[in-house]
């Protein structure tokens, strides 16, 4: 360093001591290696298997059929979601004039009735006269007639029973809906529906938007998540399956979802996002914000950190 070196000037009057930064990094690396390897050997890592539509249809066939019926009737979460999946009126979250969900528009168009139910059944109907007839009958019926069948069937599903892998409801005016649902349930139980919802027309499939939205509309997936304390009102975003630490650094993000007015608002997500962006900006700009930048002086933790310096002065 030269005489004009700004660091020499900055540290004028301060005693300098030998300090080996490279050795410090190597020792830190060794310590972290021991810690990480020890934790990995002793605790390993969680890997609960993912849920497939096949699993869902096998373990909870009534929930599967109820959800599929709601997709067909346009009453499901996805059907009512709004952007980016569809243009459902008044579904997008907003805070006053701030409506980023609406501004972004429908970027991933989803028609749940067609995408989750009718199109896959079209593939299954090949060589299946019952299903072919059911699809033709359903398609030929008017919208009011379809809704009547679907409403009646949805009501009946509340008392549905499962026998021989079939969902059975009391007799009623359901039109072809039971045949459609029997076909879809069978398709799902074989695992074929997983593939059909994933198919994008390209060779390799990596976009799980459709199967995950469909599963997310049911209660089976969220029920498993609740059992593992993973839902939003259980601090879920920062949790992991089992006793493992998850994204614990998201504690503040998760915190807002637990308290009013956030947890009772219709636009919870947007409120929390805006708040967290503002807090992150505040953290980055601490050096320029009076009070925030003065707190370290008021809470003299620094006197503990630099106790040798203050003791020697």
């Amino acid at each position: 360093m030269t005489a004009a070196d700004p660091q020499d000037k900055y540290y004028a009057g301060i005693r300098m001591i030998r300090y080996d930064l490279v050795k410090e990094l190597v020792l830190a690396l060794v310590a972290v290696s021991v810690l990480v390897m020890g934790l990995s050997v002793v605790l390993s890592s969680p890997d609960d298997p993912a849920v497939t539509i096949q699993t869902w249809a096998t373990k909870a066939p009534v929930d599967f059929v109820t959800t599929a019926t709601s997709e067909l009737s346009g009453q499901s979460g996805t059907a009512q979601y709004g952007p980016p999946y569809n243009n459902t009126a008044d579904a997008a979250q907003a805070v006053g004039p701030i409506e980023p969900q609406t501004w972004a528009g429908v970027g991933i168009p989803i028609d749940p009735a067609q995408d989750f139910v009718l199109r896959p059944l079209g593939f299954a109907a090949v060589g299946n006269p019952t299903l072919t007839t059911a699809l033709a009958t359903y398609g030929a019926a008017g919208a009011d007639q379809q809704q009547t069948w679907l409403t009646n069937y949805t009501t009946a599903l509340a008392d549905a029973t499962v026998a021989d892998n079939q969902v059975t409801v009391a007799s009623g005016d359901y039109g072809p809906v039971p045949d459609l649902m029997t076909g879809l349930l069978g398709l799902a139980r074989t695992g074929a529906l997983d593939g059909l919802l994933l198919n994008s027309g390209n060779l390799y499939q990596t976009d799980f938007t459709r199967p995950l939205l469909f599963m997310g509309d049911g209660e089976y997936l969220s029920g498993l998540a609740a059992d593992q304390h993973l839902t939003g009102d259980q601090w879920g975003m920062m949790n992991e399956t089992g006793q493992y630490p998850g994204q614990t650094w998201l504690w503040l993000f998760s915190f807002w979802y637990q308290i009013p007015p956030f947890n009772t608002a219709a636009n919870t997500d947007l409120l929390v996002i805006i708040l967290m962006i503002a807090l992150t900006a505040l953290l980055a700009l601490v050096p320029f914000i009076p009070i925030l930048r003065d707190i370290p002086r008021w809470i003299p933790v620094y006197r503990l950190i630099w106790r040798r310096y203050y003791r020697d002065r």
Partner: protein, 220 residues
Amino acid sequence: MRDGSSRPQPEPSSWTLALRHFLERRLPLAHLLPDRQPYYVGSWVYVFGVVAIAGFIWVIGSGVVLALFGPQWWHQSGVGRFVNSLHLWSVQVFFVFMVLHLWGQYFMAGWRDGRAKTWMVGVVIFAISIVAAFTGFISQQNFDGQWIAVNAKDATNAAGIGSFFNVLNFGQMYGLHIVLLPALVGTLVAAHILLVRMHGVVRPIEPKRTAQPSDEESAS
């Protein structure tokens, strides 16, 4: 009569020379790898940042092995599961010590005397690391990853970014997680370290000096 031969010839200007002179002036090797530090650098608080870097090295190393063998490997192989465990626990170490480092620097008002940029880059590293870890948790291909994606879509969609940052698209999340985000965090960590070395560690807070970057250029 002018005698040009007695004057030193000015070096021809070029961008290369300008960069070299800037680096020589702002970041001499003696600053980049100093062997002396002020004697008050004798607290464990100074170790937090170095341990966070050590954790990050493990995160990258274990992540490279996981990427090399593909996303299915660690679900099917005992060795793969172990490497995944190394990845998980090194991420935890990285975050724990990054947060300790952040709070340590806050209570030391580490942004003083021209170090505001260093602080701000550090906060950006923290924020981008959260996104990097988030895409990693989504890319696990197990129940946790699956549920996090289903749950988190509401926040990204509400923010208006769900179409081009689709948490339900495994291919997109995996690509971001193993390439773009680690590259960004690594670059910013390098920039953060360079800024720390360019300015040196901050002096202790003096009772009569304010904890603000008022003498911003004094150490620049």
